[in-house]
Amino acid sequence: MNWFRRLTSGLARSSNRLVEGIARAVGRGGLDAAALEALEEALIAADLGPSVASRLIDGIRNRRFDKGADEVAVREALAEEIAAILAPVARPFAPDPARRPHVVLVVGVNGSGKTTTIGKLARALAADGRRIILAAGDTFRAAAVSQLRIWGERTGSRVVSGAEGADPAALAFEALQAARADGADVLMIDTAGRLHNKTDLMAELAKVVRVIKKLDPDAPHDVLLVLDATTGQNALAQVETFRSMVAVNGLVVTKLDGSARGGVLVAIAEKFALPVVAIGVGEGVEDLSAFSPAEFARSLLGLSPQI
C-alpha cells in the first residue's frame, strides 16, 4: 500500500465526519449562517483549532458559491485554502552530503515517537548509501538505549551510547567526535522526551546544542521536533517552546495512520511557518514519507489525490 493510501485510510474516519458536516451544511440549500457554523465545527473537530477554522470559514464565506454548489465543490475550495497555508512548509528532509557529518538533533515530548522516527529516517538514509551514526541521548527512560540499538542493528548503523543517567550533552559531544573520526555522513542524536514546560529539562537540551557547537559551530544542522498527530492545540505551545530553546527548524508528524487528523498542523503552519520534513503513517520501517500539502489537505477533506 503506498503512503498516500495509508494516510487516506487513516484520515478517512475524520474526513467522513468532516464530509458529513459539509454535506449537512450545503444540503440546507446554500451556505447560510447555520451551514457555515456546521462547516466551522467540522473543521474544529479535525483539530484545526477555533481560530484557523474561523479564518477558513471567512474564506469560504467570501467565495460565493453558485446556488447549486455541491458539497464536493465546497470541499475542494476548503482543501485549496488549507493547501495554500501548508504549501510554504513542505520541505523534504535532505542532509547536506558535503557535511561530514550532518548533525541532526531529534527532540520532542515524551511518547511522541522520537526513537522510532530516528530509526525510520536512518533506514531511508542507509538505503541511500549514507553512513549513519546514532547517538543514544535518551539516558533517562529505561531501555531507551536498547530500543535505539535494535534500530542500529536493523539499519546497520553504529550506536554511540553511555550509561543510564549519563549527561546527554557529553554523550552528544562524544558521538560527534566518533562520527567525525568515522567519516560518517549523518549523525542523528536521540534525546529523552521532555515536557516543554519543564524549565530544567529544556535547559538540559539547550546545553546539548551548546556543547555540540564547540566542535562544529554550525551544528546541529537540523533540529527536528517530533509531534504526535493525536496532540491537540497544545502542539502550538510545544512548537513555540522547543523552537525558542533549541532553534527547531523542522517538524516530523507521527501517528497519522490513526484516527487523529493532525489538523493542528495547519495552525502550526500558519503561526510558525516551520517546515514539515516528514510524516509517519504507519508502524513499518518504511512508513515515513515526505509531506505533500496538497495531498494532506485533500485527504483531510476526504478528496482523492490530485493528478
Partner: protein
C-alpha cells in the same frame, strides 16, 4: 494544565461581574466565550455542545434573575456542571476481587502505559501494601519488555521473566498463573500501544481480557490529546471495555480538555493522573480541584498540600517565631525564596492560586519569570552577614557593591529591599494566623512589584 482556560473564563466572568443584573443575552455571550475556551482547551465538540446546553438550561431563568450576584451565579453553575461532567468524587482502583487481581493497561502508542504501569505498581506496593507482579505483553516495540523489567528493578517490583517469542495472551496467562502460584495480590498487565482503528490489535487486547478477566481495564491517555480523545475513548470502551482512565502528563501545560471529553463519552471515571517523570509521580484524580482550576478559583487544596510537602515544618515555625518578634531578616527571605523554588517556582505556585491567570499573562509579557527568584537569591547571597541581619546598613555604596557582586543592578537590589520591608511588615500583621498565613503573605508580597 488548565491555566489557559482559566484565564479565558476569568476574562469572561470579569466582564460579567462588572455589570449589574444578568440578562439572557449576557449568559449567551458568556457561554459563547466558554465554548471557544473549551474548544481551545481541546474539549471535544460534541462534549462542548452538551456542556453549553446544560449550563444554559440552568443559567437562564429564575435562578439567575433572582440571584444577588449574577456573575458569581454563572460561575457557580458552570463550575457545578464541570464537576458533574468530570465525576463528582475521586474513584480509587478497584481491588475487590480474588487475588491475584489482574489489571489491564491499554492505550495508544506513546501514551505512557509502561511508565504508568510501574507507577501504579509502586503505589499499590507502598500505599496499599500489596504484593504486585508486572508483566509486559508488548511484543512489538523494540525493547518494550526490557523497559518494564528495568522499571521493575528501579521500583523493586517483580516483573515476569521474559520468554522470547511468546504471544501476548500466553504471557498474560503465564503472569496470572505465576501470580496465583506465588501468592501475589495484584498482576499488572502492560499491553502494546495500539491504534483505536486497528481491529486486529484491538481483538488481541480483547483476547487478553477474556483470558484474564481483569478487575480493572485502564485506558492510559495523554492529557495533550486533541479532538481525537472522544474517538479513542469510545473505541477502546466499545472494543475492549474500560473501567477507568489514567490521564498522563498532567504536569504539562496542556489545557486538558481530553479529561472532560473522555469522561463524558465513556462515563468511566478518571482514576489516576500522572504528574511527573519520577516513579512516585502519580495521584488520584480530584474532579473538584480540576474544575476549580478551570474556573480560576485555583487549586487551593493542591497548593496547601504542595506547600506542606515542601516546606519543612521546623523551618516554618522558626520563621513564624522570628516574624512575631519582628526579627525577619534577609536569611529568612532567602529561605522563603528557596521554598518557592522548590514548589515549582513562581509559575508553579501561581498556577495553583485563584484568579492569577491574568497576572500570569502580564508576567509573561513583562518577561518576569522564575529567574527573578534566582537573581534575588543571588542578591541576598552577596550581602554580608551583618547586612542580612540589619537592613539599615544598606547605604548606596553597599547596594552598588551588592549589585556588582550578584551580577545584578542597583535597581534590582532596591526592589528587593523594598520587597523585604513589605514582607516584614506583613509578617507582623499575619503572625496571628499561624504558619500558613505567614507563608501565604510572604508569597503574596513577592508577586507585587
Amino acid at each position: 494544565m488548565f491555566e489557559t482556560l482559566t484565564a479565558k473564563l476569568g476574562d469572561v466572568f470579569e466582564r460579567l461581574k462588572r455589570r449589574g443584573a444578568l440578562a439572557e443575552g449576557d449568559v449567551d455571550a458568556a457561554l459563547r466565550e466558554v465554548r471557544v475556551a473549551l474548544l481551545e482547551a481541546d474539549v471535544a465538540l460534541p462534549v462542548v455542545k452538551d456542556f453549553i446546553a446544560g449550563v444554559k438550561l440552568k443559567a437562564i431563568g429564575q435562578e439567575v434573575i433572582r440571584s444577588v450576584s449574577p456573575g458569581q451565579m454563572v460561575v457557580k453553575i458552570v463550575h457545578d456542571h464541570l464537576i458533574d461532567t468530570l465525576g463528582a468524587t475521586a474513584v480509587e482502583i478497584n481491588l475487590r476481587a480474588v487475588p491475584p487481581v489482574p489489571i489491564l493497561m491499554v492505550g495508544l502508542q506513546g501514551s505512557g502505559k509502561t511508565t504508568t504501569t510501574a507507577k501504579l505498581a509502586l503505589r499499590l506496593t507502598q500505599r496499599d501494601k500489596k504484593k504486585v507482579l508486572m508483566a509486559s505483553l508488548d511484543t512489538r516495540r523494540p525493547a518494550a519488555q526490557e523497559q518494564l523489567a528495568v522499571l521493575g528493578q528501579q521500583t523493586g517490583v517483580v516483573t515476569l521473566p521474559i520468554i522470547a517469542g511468546q504471544d501476548p495472551v500466553a504471557i498474560a496467562r503465564r503472569a496470572v498463573e505465576a501470580g496465583a502460584r506465588e501468592g501475589y495480590d495484584v498482576v499488572l498487565l502492560d499491553t502494546a500501544g495500539r491504534l483505536a482503528i486497528d481491529d486486529e490489535l484491538m481483538a488481541e487486547a480483547a483476547a487478553v481480557r477474556d483470558a484474564t478477566k481483569p478487575a480493572e481495564t485502564l485506558l492510559v491517555a495523554d492529557a495533550m490529546t486533541g479532538q481525537d480523545a472522544v474517538n479513542l475513548a469510545r473505541a477502546f470502551n466499545e472494543k475492549i471495555g474500560i473501567t477507568g482512565i489514567v490521564l498522563t502528563r498532567v504536569d504539562g501545560d496542556a489545557r486538558g480538555g481530553a479529561a472532560l471529553s473522555m469522561r463524558a463519552v465513556t462515563g468511566r471515571p478518571i482514576k489516576l493522573i500522572g504528574i511527573g517523570e519520577k516513579l512516585d509521580a502519580i495521584d488520584v484524580f480530584h474532579p473538584d480541584r480540576i474544575a476549580g482550576r478551570i474556573l480560576g478559583m485555583g487549586d487551593i487544596v493542591g497548593l496547601v498540600e504542595k506547600a506542606a510537602e515542601t516546606v519543612e515544618k521546623e523551618e516554618a515555625e522558626k520563621l513564624a517565631r522570628k516574624a512575631a518578634k519582628g526579627e525577619f531578616d534577609f536569611d529568612d527571605m532567602a529561605a522563603q525564596l528557596r521554598q518557592l523554588r522548590k514548589m515549582g517556582g513562581l509559575s508553579g505556585v501561581m498556577g495553583l492560586l485563584p484568579g492569577v491567570g491574568k497576572i500570569k499573562k502580564q508576567m509573561a509579557e513583562a518577561k518576569v519569570d522564575d529567574r527573578i527568584v534566582r537573581r534575588q537569591e543571588a542578591i541576598i547571597g552577596s550581602m554580608t552577614k551583618a547586612e542580612r541581619r540589619d537592613v539599615r546598613l544598606l547605604n548606596g555604596r553597599r547596594r552598588r557593591r551588592i549589585a556588582k557582586g550578584s551580577g545584578t543592578t542597583v535597581e534590582e537590589v532596591n526592589r528587593l529591599v523594598k520587597q523585604y520591608m513589605e514582607m516584614g511588615r506583613m509578617m507582623k500583621q499575619v503572625t496571628k494566623l499561624g504558619q500558613k498565613g505567614v507563608m501565604r503573605a510572604g508569597m503574596a508580597s513577592l508577586f507585587r512589584r
